[in-house]
């Protein structure tokens, strides 16, 4: 299958560029609804990258949770605050350019750091299965798992309590 690798690489790079492009559109487009659609593309692209990184379960979770649930919520919110989506109103504030400059500065620091760092990569990349993941969740990480489920429950109740209209 080694000869198949370049093909995979090409697809991966394409996906990466799609994700970057969609993300840029997401943060810069004036129409928030379209931004949400492009966010969906970004998330789907990230899910695709998970597949290529042999994290199938995470990829499925990404689609199920991010695309299926969070995106639905976001679009719901966009629709419920529909009056705020007037195209005539500026969607970005006045610190666009300073922000861009500062972020350029940050990247100018981070990218050389990444390039200079001595990464000790594995000879053979390893992957795991959903079964192993389940064992880890129920064994080693059972406490964080329980806490996260509690947090989720609290968030659920909190969201309902916050969003309900006053009688």
């Amino acid at each position: 299958m080694n000869s198949f690798a370049p093909l995979v690489s090409v697809v991966q790079y394409v996906l990466m560029f799609i994700v970057l492009g969609a993300a840029i559109v997401t943060v810069s487009i004036g129409n928030l609804f379209r931004a949400a659609i492009f966010l969906a593309f970004t998330l789907l692209g990230v899910a695709g990258l998970y597949f290529f990184l042999h994290a199938d379960f995470i990829a499925a979770m990404q689609i199920l949770i991010y695309v299926g649930a969070i995106m639905t919520l976001v679009i719901f919110a966009v629709m419920l605050t529909g009056k705020m989506q007037d195209p005539l109103v500026a969607q970005s504030n006045r610190q666009k350019i300073p922000a861009f400059i500062i972020l350029c500065g940050v990247s100018a620091f981070l990218i050389p750091t990444i390039l200079k760092a001595p990464w000790r990569t594995l000879a053979t990349p390893h992957a795991t299965t959903a079964a192993n993941l389940g064992r880890a969740l129920m064994g080693e990480f059972v406490f964080p798992f329980e806490i996260v489920s509690l947090v989720l429950l609290v968030a659920l109740i909190g969201a309902i309590a916050t969003a309900r209209s006053d009688e």
Binding site: A23, V27, Y50, Y66, Q91, S92, H126, L137, T162
Partner: protein, 102 residues
């Protein structure tokens, strides 16, 4: 086999794009979306390290799952707050919500 540097630069850029969105968006929903992008960039790094670095694969993926779950919680509570603010203030532009400013 893609370059480790390329992938890390990709995730960095993705993160910074999200950060840029969080800095420049006026709309609270837009900010939330930008934050989701940043979280995704972080998650990609987790998964990438789980595959190519000398760490147990499960650990990184478990953390990625936690991040996703917490992102879901953030989105739920955050959007509920947005709706409530919209109901009370009739705006979701952060620079117009200045109730606590003297």
């Amino acid at each position: 086999m893609m370059s480790i540097n390329h992938f890390l630069i990709f995730t960095t850029l993705l993160f910074l794009i999200g950060l840029y969105g969080a800095l420049s968006r006026r709309n609270m929903i837009g900010i939330l979306m930008s934050i989701e992008i940043m979280l995704n960039a972080v998650n990609l790094n987790f998964i990438f390290f789980s595959r190519f670095l000398d760490v147990p694969a499960e650990t990184a993926q478990v953390f990625a799952i936690f991040v996703i779950v917490l992102a879901a919680a953030t989105a739920a509570v955050g959007l509920a707050i947005v709706l409530q603010i919209y109901r009370n203030q009739k705006t979701i532009y952060t620079d117009e919500i200045d109730l606590l400013k003297w």
